[in-house]
Symmetry: C2
Subunit: 155 residues, 2 copies
């Protein structure tokens, strides 16, 4: 996996901390928690475009969408979810080096401030596109967010 | 269909001009062509979240992804495609009125300037997330973009 191409993460650590994996995808808690519960869902196999994703990989992804929205609804009650597959950051280097990877940004969005583990999470951009601005929280809080999402994913 | 909830369009006309429809989705040429070939793929049935999209609707969407990337590759040769399902703009009003609709933003991205019908299209944000800034072109050019994408979609 590349470590520098997650445009919404903006922090060292690539896609983040692994929460769970399925046959074809890996689910990471994103390094930036500007929007509580932000995750990255990365395809294990290297493919450059969504049109190269095969039927089995799509079917697996659809199950992940349902499980993740359900899990984060139970945990943090966001108002909506933003899903995107962008890959722009992979194209910032010279053309020859370009090496995009399929990964989805899963970004829960909140109208109200959420308190989790004593930390306040608001959504300064609610109603608008998510901004690639980093917000780092302590490793203890990261771990608790991860456990919370994982617990509901496995139910 | 609502006419004010397409955050990347930013122009009157809602999702744009219909290019094609499939059993479950409608494909529109987006009113803003800041990124040449930008389309909206809207679910016909009203659903609020991607986790409510059923298997048949997803299967249909997967075929659309493959056809649209193939069509726009043939027409305009972008470097990559951005796909997103955001729905943020639907949440700008009071909570009671919130009425999101599933629609995908399909945004081709370009490293080099493309000349189409005598009009120059560059991508001022290449390598970065697409910006919700409107660029309107003439109705003649809009029609030609639409015909070009449709031609390749039907092949």
């Amino acid at each position: 996996m590349m470590t520098d191409n997650c445009e919404y993460c903006q922090l060292a650590g690539g896609y983040g901390e692994l929460i769970e994996e399925t046959p074809y995808w890996m689910i990471f808690l994103a390094p930036s928690q500007r929007y509580l519960g932000t995750c990255v869902v990365a395809l294990k196999k290297k493919r450059a475009n969504l049109s190269e994703v095969n039927d089995a990989e799509w079917d697996d992804f659809v199950q992940i969408v349902r499980k993740m929205e359900d899990s984060v609804n139970k945990s943090f009650k966001p108002n909506l979810f933003n899903w995107s597959c962008f890959k722009n950051a992979a194209f910032r280097k010279d053309n020859d080096d370009v090496d995009p990877e399929i990964h989805w940004h899963f970004i829960p969005r909140y109208q109200e401030t959420v308190l989790f583990c004593g930390v306040k999470f608001d959504d300064p951009d609610f109603g608008h596109i998510p901004q690639p601005i980093a917000r780092k929280v302590s490793s203890e809080v990261m771990n608790n967010i991860k456990l919370e999402i994982k617990k509901n994913l496995l139910e």
